[in-house]
Amino acid sequence: MTVDKKAGAKKPAPLKKPAARKAPAKKKPTWDISDVDQWGPERHELGATIIEAGNSVYNETGGWRSLVPEIDVEKCDGCMLCFFYCPDASIVVENNKAVGIDLEHCKGCGICAKECPTKAIVMLIDKKD
């Protein structure tokens, strides 16, 4: 590997933070699977193919949760580690700070709380109705 050590070589531009992900808007699915539990053998796509990208948004997995993360926005320094680590893309970010959790998809795994360097996230018992 060769390294360009010439004087005056431009410094790489600083990495931009990714655009924050907002809580998913409830758009109408292009592939209506609302009554999928009633589908018989003929209704499914050939070979169980999923024909709409990103349709896992419609699959609410929040009900699996026994612990729920709570964010202290004051302590958040905007490092985005929780956002990167969250396996369910459930961290809601506004103005480069974690401000909330998408509770329809957060499974309560606790990875965000484990990774948060400022201890801004803690896991609490999820009290269900």
Partner: protein, 400 residues
């Protein structure tokens, strides 16, 4: 209107199939060589190298990878083919189910060869008979001509919208694959017009419409419904196989069916057989007929789906049916074809007797005498007042 080329070529079975693949000119072929299929892949690779086909040829490091690459290619939206034999087929095992359950219309040539061990490279049907529940359509060819014809028809069957299942077509290792026999070919233009352009369903390479192929089905569970859909497609394929054969007959002058009956109309005894041994059996039937024995034969063409109603119709008037299996099902009542035929005839009244014969394992020769011996057993059983034992009979087994 038969517009077949009049020229008759002398080719090996493998050459016949390589020519068929060349005329089909698939988008992708992923294959690994194995005796006795090697010649198919070798000749086809030469066509790719010579620019005679536009195919992307993917060389892989094993048959497991071959079938995996085939699945990726077919899911991507390409007309995809491969070929294998024996241990290679066995190594594909787990992925064969995936190809079928993803409903990918792949066509695979399988040259029948024994499975180890002892290691043996000669013909029997244990490889593909073991794969009868993988969800693939199985067509067994008799000779060079049918190997070529089945390869081309397989494309139309697999890609038919009522089916969308992979098709494997078989012919006997060495007996057909390596021996020279007659072949009449269509022109490449005829084959292209017959198979038509490829229509992919939900292809992964359509970036405008992204899809997920092969998702996990563990949360809500529609696995059961998908399996039923697969089996319904298998049922529908019976009609499609016949329709494609009829259309192919118009083109080629060669008529095929789901099964191939011979002198059955007034037969009292009959043999059911798969593959190249049908030729020897047909000859034996003629010989017995000349002696006044009412002998007949059915050759199996479609084994999956198994047209059990057609077998019942074809064999219901026969007194004793002998089923010649070139593979065994250890611990079962008989070989795989025996079990199917016996099951198919169960609802017949009166019910014909069905006797299991095993022959030709590991390439053991089968002579006309052996088939006559089988017919003699059927005659004895037909004359016997009581039902005879349904134990396996072995043809040309060395004496203990």
């Amino acid at each position: 209107m038969a517009i077949t080329q009049s020229e008759i070529l002398a080719v090996t079975g493998n050459e016949a199939v390589a020519e068929a693949m060349g005329q089909i000119d698939p988008d992708v072929v992923c294959a690994y060589p194995i005796t006795p299929q090697t010649e198919v892949v070798q000749l086809f690779a030469q066509m790719v190298a010579d620019g005679k086909v536009a195919t992307e040829f993917v060389t892989v490091e094993s048959e497991h990878s071959a079938m995996s690459a085939v699945i990726g290619s077919a899911a991507g939206g390409a007309r995809t083919m491969t070929a294998t034999s024996s241990q290679g087929f066995a190594l594909m095992w787990e992925v064969l189910f995936v190809a079928a359950s993803y409903r990918l219309p792949v066509v695979m040539t399988t040259v029948n060869r024994a499975l180890s061990g002892p290691i043996n490279i000669h013909c029997d049907h244990s490889d593909t008979m073991g794969g009868r529940d993988t969800g693939w359509i199985q067509l067994y060819g008799e000779n060079h001509q049918e190997a070529y014809d089945n390869c081309i028809q397989g494309i139309r069957i697999a890609e038919h919208m009522d089916v969308r299942l992979p098709v494997m077509h078989m012919y006997d290792g060495y007996v057909i694959s390596g021996a020279i026999g007659p072949l009449q070919m269509l022109t490449k233009e005829q084959v292209q017009a017959f198979i038509g352009p490829y229509h992919a369903i939900n292809p992964m390479l359509d970036s405008e419409n992204p899809v997920t192929v092969g998702p996990f089905d563990g949360l809500h569970g529609w696995y059961f419904e998908h399996k039923v859909a697969q089996n319904r497609a298998m049922d529908r394929s019976l009609r499609v196989i016949q329709d494609v054969a009829d259309e192919y007959a118009e083109l080629s002058g060669r008529q095929y069916g789901l099964l191939d009956p011979y002198r059955l109309e007034d037969a009292e005894i009959a043999i059911v057989v798969v593959g190249s041994t049908a030729g020897t059996t047909r000859m034996t039937v003629d010989k017995l007929r000349a002696r006044g024995v009412k002998a007949g034969m059915v050759r199996v063409r479609a084994f999956r789906p198994f047209p059990y109603e057609d077998y019942a119709k074809a064999l219901q008037h026969v007194k004793v049916v002998g089923v010649l299996d070139r593979a065994d099902s250890f611990g079962a009542q008989g070989g795989p074809v025996f079990l199917e035929v016996r099951g198919a005839l169960y609802d017949c009244d009166p019910r014909p007797q069905v006797l299991p014969f095993i022959y030709g394992l590991g390439g053991r020769d089968i002579y006309p005498d052996n088939i006559e011996q089988a017919f003699a057993e059927l005659e004895n059983a037909a004359q016997s007042k009581r039902r005879v034992s349904s134990e396996r009979r072995y043809l040309n087994l060395r004496k203990d």
